[in-house]
């Protein structure tokens, strides 16, 4: 087993023993997504989305829209906290792995691999819980956007962990997805196009994809998924650079 594989497999074991993370994985999807469907009044609401390349308003059931928004909030929140925890631990200890002989690329591959694995699980659980109450029109487009937004938030969690301590970081990573996905991008709250500064948040492009492929019968947001992936890559480059700097990996 090479160094990257060893660090990755041991890193996974370490996260499995992180009971806070495991508890969040069990409790949050049920309490956020299932309850969102259960308690939301079943009335038709106007929803802004893309149809044939045009921004239009369509009428959809409020529980469906609320469910579509609460699913990425849940996933982004857990992935963000996982990224935060990973960076906080790495910041303290991964420098010692470098002294022991690990190359930067080996530790980075292992740590980011662990984050990717957690994100896959979180996305899978969130979408699975959502599907008990709601079936998106285009499941795999929806899942792709979910993965992108969750991974982006996981990496943002790492960036936050590099700058803030655990408590401040937790507050930030609890509030940020709520504000971004749950307020700025929520078509129930923002009936017109979001302001320019709301479009700078990581949820803008993925949520467009999720609203479109979850609630309408055509896929009109392929380009939005490309932009979302570009945003993810940009955050990934930043996170790798910051990780390299704070752990003194060499």
């Amino acid at each position: 087993m090479n160094r990257t594989t060893t660090a990755f497999s041991i890193g996974i074991k370490e996260q499995v023993r992180n009971y806070v993370l495991v508890a969040l994985l069990v409790v949050l999807p049920v309490s956020f997504i299932t309850l969102a469907f259960a308690v939301t009044q079943n009335v038709e609401m106007p929803v802004r989305t893309l149809v044939d390349g045009e921004t239009v308003t369509v009428m959809r059931g409020m529980p469906e829209v609320h469910g579509v928004i609460m699913t990425p909030i849940t996933s982004a929140l857990i992935a963000g906290l996982a990224g935060l925890f990973l960076m906080r631990e790495a910041k303290d200890t991964d420098g010692r792995l470098a002294v022991a002989g690990y190359r930067a690329r080996q530790v980075i591959a292992a740590r980011f691999g662990v984050l990717a694995a957690i994100t896959l699980i979180v996305t899978g659980v969130s979408v699975g819980v959502m599907r008990v109450d709601f079936q998106p029109e285009y499941l795999w487009w929806f899942v792709a956007a979910m993965l992108v937004v969750s991974l982006t938030y996981g990496l943002i969690g790492m960036l936050v962990g590099a700058v803030f301590n655990r408590l401040a970081g937790m507050w930030l990573m609890l509030i940020l997805p709520m504000l971004d996905i749950g307020l700025f991008q929520d078509p129930l709250f923002i009936q017109s196009e979001p302001d320019w500064w709301m479009k700078l948040f990581p949820g803008y492009w993925p949520v467009r994809v999720m609203v479109d492929t979850g609630l309408t019968t055509d896929v009109d947001t392929a380009l939005s998924l490309v932009w979302a992936t570009g945003y993810l890559l940009l955050v990934a480059v930043l996170a790798i650079g910051i990780y390299y700097r704070v752990t003194q990996a060499s």
Partner: protein, 243 residues
């Protein structure tokens, strides 16, 4: 002077394994209205095979900063560090992963050192037997007492039989028996050619050190002879009193 660090080849007998020249380090802050702290201004130091070297100095004098630069976990602002051979580092605070077991910790770091599974297993049992933590091999790090965590912290630095051993107050939390075992181990390693460098606060252990560097006012002074004179003077005084 630009900062540079090089690590080269294998150690041979009576050779300088670590050489630091004109090391400077200032801790700055990117926030306004906060001051920067200059810790090292022109620090030079050499560590040779088979020596037990002590780094002493007052609190906040820069001992740990110097060691972190020598190890390579902290970058100096300027000056050069040349290292030869493999390094084992025991930081002052145990830098270990809390949710891993002792066995997994050995596997993780052993893999970094390039050791095979058999070599890791052998090192784990040898050090567990020597430092008396065999019964804790399946315990998680966060389930260990402070002293046992420190034993693992030290063992991780030793497990690959490094050419240079850098120890930052390695015996914190050790009981007396383990403290004595630690010194036996350090002397055995030095006899086998390992350069053992440790940050020390205890006056009584300075007689065990081959060379003593004092970090003072940002510079490093070789005070070995002064310590020897002090010891001799104290000894003479003791004899005079006895008489």
């Amino acid at each position: 002077m630009e900062a540079s660090t090089t690590t080269t080849g294998e150690a041979t007998s009576n050779k300088v394994l670590v050489r630091a020249n004109e090391i400077e380090k200032t801790y700055g802050s990117s926030f306004p209205f906060t001051r920067s702290v200059t810790v090292l201004t022109d620090a030079d130091l050499e560590i040779r095979t088979g020596e037990i070297v002590g780094i002493v100095g007052a609190n906040g004098s820069g001992k740990s900063t110097l060691m972190n630069i020598l190890v390579g976990v902290l970058e100096q602002d300027s000056g050069t560090v040349e290292r030869t051979g493999t390094v084992g580092w025991c930081p002052q605070e145990p830098l270990l992963y809390d949710r891993l077991t002792v066995g997994e910790t050995f596997r993780l770091f052993g893999s970094g050192y390039g050791m095979t599974a058999e070599e890791i297993d052998e090192a784990k049992h040898r050090l567990a037997s020597k430092l008396d933590f065999e019964q804790y091999l399946d315990y998680r790090i966060d389930q260990l007492s402070g002293g046992n965590r420190q034993k693992i912290n030290l063992s991780i630095a030793l497990m690959h039989n490094p050419d240079v051993l850098m120890l930052d107050e390695p015996y914190t939390g050790f009981d007396w028996e383990t403290y004595l075992t630690f010194w036996d181990l350090a002397e055995e390693l030095a006899a086998d050619g390992t350069a053992v460098t440790m940050i020390s606060h205890l006056i009584e252990e300075q007689s065990r050190l081959d060379r003593i560097y004092e970090v003072r006012d940002g510079q490093v002074y070789d005070v070995t002879d002064q310590e020897a004179e002090t010891d001799a003077t104290a000894s003479e005084r003791g004899e005079a009193t006895d008489e």
